[in-house]
Amino acid sequence: MQPNPPKTPRAILDAQGVTKSFGAVQALRGASLRVGAGEIVALMGANGAGKSTLVKILTGALRHDAGTITIKDRPVRFASPAAARRAGLVPVYQEPALIPDLDVGQNLRLGATPVAPFRHWVDALGVTGLRMDDAIGHLPLATLRILDLARALAMEPDVLMLDEMTAALPTDLVDNVLRVMRGQADAGRAVIYISHRFPEIARICDRATVLRDGVTVGDLPIVPGVEEEVVELMLGQRMTPAVAATGRSAAKGTARLSVAGLSLGSKLAEVSFDLHAGEVLGVVALEGQGQDELFEVLAGFRRAGSGRISVDGTPVAFRHPADAIAAGLTFVPGNRADALAMGRSVRENIALPGFAAPRRWGPIAMQAEATRIGAAIDRLQIDTRAQGEVRRLSGGNQQKVTIGRWIAHGVQTLLLFDPTRGIDVRTKRQIYELCRDLAAQGAAVLYYTSELAEVPQACDRAIVIFGGRVVAEMPAAEATEAALLRAAYGLAVAT
């Protein structure tokens, strides 16, 4: 609101040249962050930039290798989160640090939080009707985030750190949070605000510190139009313009996968769409809008409450992933660690689905297997220098293994859940091309992505889910980031 103060005020938190390695991987190579009294600083960086490592070091969850961190000019080196709290730095995470099996009062006692200020902040943040003996496990996530924040505020910290805590928070609560944060800063505290949401950052932050590849690459005052500069800094290069998608109209005839009126508790409401052979259908949604549940239902991990799924016109009901696979629906989950046997070889990981059925438990034709897997590895250009253990591969190559597993066994319908999360640009391109290739060969691909810019590059068509409903559908040519974002926020799409 009062951007770009002429001179940075007295630093409350000052981290300079912080480094941290995990084995051979250097996560931080010189990260710096300076927050003065009365300032709100946005900490920004793409996935894998080292943001979370820096957060962990500042909050005492990890210890840094080199560099200095001072709080109010006193050098600190936290041995634990408790030590960081004592020094006056209190974090609030996207995942609330509250114990699900204890009630509110017990959680406060656990953290030695004074009750009266806590109550004050809960009221100020707009949560009503809270009882101290409410069990945490029975409260909605949005309330928990507010409680976690109120607890942090009650500690009267010198430095407050918010890590993506407004994600999927209702708008009115977000407003309250932003207002309270500004108030904290005006009261002379320092606030570190970690978020991907430019509108929020523009509203309350004074400066943005940008990390890339473990180094602080920029520290900019927030002024109108700074977004482009920040994005450039985060990416290290100009964003490539969207590759023109083929934009073919959807195939006619029976859909490969047809979903009609799918509902699941409060997560999915009457979701319907068709996915045709030869098509890549993008799915866009903000975090927690029901996309996880949709993919889990389609992959056979959970059953829908009501609705119908048909494959090639035949109704199907999945009780287990094996049923979905039998119907040709193969799933690549968002978290690679969920899909891979990390300690086993590339070959074993790719070959895995071939042994699932008991009649395939017998002897393996080793030569044939080697040929088949070699072909899949070649097609995906998997870097096989470290193929003894998938654990030792890069994230991009790991992702290729999870996709390659299905390619080696013949793809009919591929369900990709955010396949490019946290992987390098080159591999991302390869994955887009792969999707296009698969579609050209007659496969159908359902492609959820958290990066809106990917839609025109990989997809033919996109649907947008908001609050468990399909709120928009558009061909790739119209799927600009602005259009998708408007729809993803539940705003009407201009037609």
């Binding site: 480094t19 390695s21 084995g23 051979a24 991987v25 250097q26 190579r29 010189g30 992959a299 287990h320 992933p321 094996a322 696979i325 039998a326 799933f331 989950p333 660690a337 969920d338 899909a339 891979l340 046997a341 990390m342 300690g343 086993r344 074993e348 990981n349 070959a351 895995l352 689905p353 071939g354 042994f355 699932a356 059925a357 008991p358 395939r360 438990w361 017998g362 002897p363 393996i364 080793m366 003894g388 597993r405």
Partner: protein
């Protein structure tokens, strides 16, 4: 700053140990034998070697139960009970039914306990350690009831089992006629069959295996039934070696069987290991047993040493996987 790292010598040795545990194990085995020879010169001869192998065989077979269940992150603490039950039922049924039918019948309770374990672990998702501990105790309880009903009928060990258990070909024990094909089969299963691949995969990441279409309960049923059958086979051989049966015949081999698998480099957390290592582990423990007897170590001390070995080896492997 570069991203290159200097690996501590410990880490390098650690990786070697993890990737080729069998080399380190063989070194350890030879070291123990040398130590034995120093402590008691002249003890190492053909007869001693034959005896060591003879007693290592049932241990290595029982340890196969642990090795295979550990691939999936499990364990089979009912193995000794199953072996004991099989041996006891066989010995008491052979006088009635003849050799072949008696042996076949004796394997029925083994299969039943294996199915029970598979049900508990695969369907009810009880931790294998608790499940197999419980099923073993239930099994022994049933055996006690059975014993009272057959107290008068006497028992007999079929000649073929005595030949396997006590006979020698040249100076080598006849048990090898059973064990060599057995070990070859186990190594084949773990390396060259879909079943073996799935065991490792489930141990490394059960979710990934399910994602790949595996109905894990099917695998657990098959695994624990296989384990119980191996235990039953071990019980039959052991009855041939000891030439009698009792209600706690194979019980003393349970803890060493776990230790043999762990020492042999099989991760108790699943996803890693080899039966080859287990075989060497069984030999090491047998030699260690001789050594402890020589040192007149009481039973309590042995248990402490075995427990300590399991703990130490697990902790070391834990560190190795973290640094690797």
């Amino acid at each position: 700053m570069t991203t290159g790292t200097v690996q501590a010598p410990f880490a390098r040795i650690g990786r070697l140990l993890r990737d080729y545990p069998i080399i380190a194990l063989l070194v350890l085995l030879v070291a123990l034998i040398v130590l034995l020879q120093i402590l008691n010169p002249g003890i190492i001869n053909q007869r001693w070697i034959g005896n060591t192998i003879k007693f290592a065989i049932p241990l290595a077979m029982l340890a196969a139960c642990q090795t295979f269940t550990m691939y999936t992150g499990g364990i089979d603490l009912s193995a000794a009970a199953v072996a004991t039950i099989t041996a006891f039922v066989m010995a008491t049924q052979v006088p009635h039914l003849g050799d072949a039918a008696g042996i076949a019948l004796a394997l029925v309770p083994a299969v039943l306990i294996g199915l029970l374990n598979g049900f508990g672990v695969g369907i009810c998702r009880v931790h294998p350690l608790i499940m197999t501990l419980g099923s073993g105790l239930i099994g022994i309880g049933c055996l006690q009831v059975y014993q009272r009903s057959t107290i008068a009928t006497g028992s007999a060990i079929p000649p073929v089992l005595e030949w396997l258990g006590t006979g020698r070909t040249f100076w080598l024990p006849n048990g090898l006629w059973l064990f060599v094909p057995f070990a070859a089969l186990m190594l084949f299963i773990q390396r060259r069959t879909g079943f073996g691949r799935l065991l490792y995969a489930v141990g490394a990441n059960e979710g990934a295996a399910r994602l790949s279409g595996l109905r894990t309960w099917q695998l657990y049923f098959a695994l624990y039934t296989l384990s119980a059958l191996i235990a039953g086979l071990t019980g039959l051989l052991y009855a041939g070696i000891i030439r009698t049966t009792s209600l706690s015949l194979v019980e003393p081999l349970l803890l060493p069987s776990v230790a043999a698998a762990v020492i042999g480099g099989t991760s108790i957390f699943g996803g890693r290991g080899s039966y080859a290592g287990t075989i060497v582990g069984a030999l090491i423990l047998t030699v260690l047993g001789t050594l402890l007897t020589l040192l007149q170590m009481p039973e309590g001390g042995r248990q402490i040493i075995f427990g300590g070995i399991i703990l130490a080896v697990t902790a070391i492997y834990m560190r190795l996987t973290e640094t690797g």
